[in-house]
Symmetry: none
Subunit: 423 residues, 2 copies
């Protein structure tokens, strides 16, 4: 079964935004075993959009469109797609009520153009949008199934996962299942080398590696007549990966992120935590606080971007800052220890580095970052050299800090256990 | 003159990578005044690639292809494009020598398939690739100019800027320019209603609105014989927008973000700043620290996710937390005042809310956020109700906090100025 992706938006054609929706939809469709041969971007223009959609419906079984469902006059994806599919637009009462509720809850009144979003193709499958006012819709025609999704990624992604995946699953007789083994602290090249023999010899399941910031995801995908049979094919491969990567695997669960794995480790061991951040400026705390339930262990976090703050709040010694500088092993270590004391936390992680674009020197170039992690008084400091712009350096530092936290906590407990055994 | 972008690669179709090349090429082409109506992604497949290229050459003046110029058997963009354009491939001696040099400099030897990259279409314009082994090439046919570029962004981008831009500049006689008016604190629907008459009546310049979290961008675009003439058409429209949106416009500069506008306001007025964050967990500080140079005014930031931290560090009264709760107008106000005192900052902004997915009640639902901003002792608190998942609520809260900071600082200074005038 073939699928084709059409992203609608002048912003894409002008290059103002990068097309992350296409990548998301393509990855999901590949995971569902759908073959995708074309992706197209087209603007909010009736003639061109109708042309592109018509071509796609001729050559593919399923066409997924994103964008152009908003309330403004520019947004005409639904109107054009309904026309091409030969469906009339009618008022969809539940969607109208949802829009009314959406605005009422916010104490505001919808403007006239908002009601346009409640006009939906007759006999279309309406997809609820809990994150916005534009519902999605599926239209079935003889030529193809046409699926319209809103453009904002935070609306499109959850709508796809909760509504479109079950729909697509029903269309195919063969199921494709996959399991992702998530590895941290191992570079992509090394990870790929470690599984190259498996990649070269396997056909079902297949194995693919995906580089993420600070982590590598290894996806094992199998096709079979049902989920149980597919998972049976996947199981021995995952077992083999576990034996190769050991503790560097932080999860094999789809919905567990690196920050969630770290949070679970903290919660399971009843360890309170704090972060002292310089160049990452709050991003590390923010990523940990992504995890619902973290409030049980997350203590105060501190953003100490200035040297003054490092001295006054974290008790970093003036002499340390003068002798080694703010971006140094010594400062990172004192920041972590100071943060643990300030927040009275079991685990404290400190990040200091040069995110750029300015501030780099030959000795301390942009991308140089020191991260310290203190677990119940024992402090580890690592030195990193990240590449890329300011945003990328900071993102890499946050991921590295999570990896280091995980490693230090695991090491702490393996030593504690070992100590007990010795007695 | 029209341009069309075709990106070739299975990894794009599988969603393994995001198509940053398309965004880069699109943005550059828009800047050159070329109209781009279509972008396509297709795999390394002869039939489909030839089909897509043929269609593009029929409907566009210039077709830019990226990817598929590598040395492997999969890479067939050049072979297919030459065939479609009716050009034979011949050995290009300078490219052969360049490949030899490239490997010699690295102390390695090219493999047999590397020489494939020196086979280039007869009478094509060869584009040097100082960053890799695949040269680019331009083929001119009656139907269209066809430009082939390598896929890796670090090869494609410099090749485009140094070789393709001068080539394209010679082709065009008309330029397209645009200016973006960035508005904050006004919803998209309201913004659009406010400019609807302009949108409806203008043809050159055109006006379009783009919704961002917490802000709306209004882009004014004009075509003319040169940049100066285009900007002359844009100027009166921008002036009209300024008179309609007044202080809600935070910039008309392309590279100024909301956080940069706030940072500039702080820096210009020598105001030090701190953030006390609960549900946003460090994201607000992180966004401010996105701005290089903010270190001159950014003091310590505090992430007070727990009530204990709110009490101990920010001096929020126990009775306030008990009587009104952590998510309340009163707590937000005390947080901001406490943060100003703790960090000895002129401006303190505090965020407390329910990001979800849990923790919501009928009285205090998920998405309820209070933001307080204290400027030199004068505190303003606003109540918000955001929609979406945990990530979206937090992102919206961060944007709203920046908008509130900006408003409070502007109000503070208008009052100060007013006070002075009175004397």
């Amino acid at each position: 079964m073939t699928v084709e992706i059409i992203c609608v938006g002048t912003e894409l054609l002008l290059g103002n935004i990068v097309n992350t929706n296409a990548a998301f939809l393509a990855e999901r469709c590949a995971g569902l075993g759908l073959a995708c041969y074309y992706q197209t971007v087209v603007g909010d223009n009736e003639g061109r959009l109708a042309g592109v959609l018509g071509t796609a419906m001729e050559r593919s079984d399923i066409v997924i469109l994103s964008g152009g469902l908003g309330p403004t006059e520019d947004d005409l994806t639904k109107e054009v797609a309904a026309k091409v599919c030969g469906k009339e637009l009618v008022l969809h009462e539940p969607s109208r009520a949802a829009i009314e509720r959406f605005f009422a809850e916010r104490g505001t009144v919808p403007t006239e153009n908002n009601w346009k979003q409640a006009m939906l193709p007759v006999d279309g499958v309406v997809l609820d949008n809990p994150n916005g006012t534009a519902p999605g819709v599926i239209m079935e025609t003889k030529a193809a199934k046409v699926i319209l999704l809103p453009g904002p990624p935070n609306e499109l992604c959850p709508m796809f996962d909760s509504n479109v995946v079950p729909y697509l699953n029903k269309l195919t007789t063969r199921v494709i299942c996959s399991q992702t083994v998530k590895v941290c602290g191992v570079g992509e090249s090394r990870a790929e080398t470690m599984v190259k023999d498996l990649i070269d010899t396997q056909t079902n399941p297949t194995i693919a590696t995906y580089a993420k910031t600070g982590e590598v995801h290894i996806r094992v995908t199998a096709g079979a007549e049902d989920r149980k049979a597919a998972m049976k094919l996947i199981k021995p491969v995952v077992k083999e990966l576990k034996s190769r990567f050991g503790n560097d695997i932080y999860t094999t669960e789809e919905d567990v992120t690196l920050e969630k794995a770290v949070a679970e480790l903290l919660l399971a061991n009843d360890l309170t935590v704090t972060c002292a951040e310089s160049c990452t400026g709050g991003l590390l705390s923010a990523r940990l606080i992504n995890v619902p339930g973290i409030s049980d262990v997350y203590k105060t976090g501190i953003v100490t971007y200035s040297n003054k703050a490092k001295k006054n709040i974290l008790n970093v010694k003036k002499s340390t800052l003068q002798k080694y500088g703010a971006v140094s092993r010594q400062t990172a270590e004192e920041m972590a220890k100071g943060a643990a004391a300030f927040a009275k936390a079991d685990v404290a992680v400190a990040v200091t580095g040069i995110a750029g674009p300015d501030g780099g020197t030959e000795e301390k170039p942009v991308g140089l970052v020191f991260i310290a992690c203190c677990v119940k008084g024992k402090t580890t400091v690592d030195k990193y050299r990240f590449s890329g712009n300011r945003g990328k350096v900071r993102e890499s530092a946050v991921a590295a800090a999570l990896v280091l936290m995980r490693r230090c906590i695991l090491e702490y407990f393996s030593e504690v256990t070992f100590g007990k055994k010795e007695k």
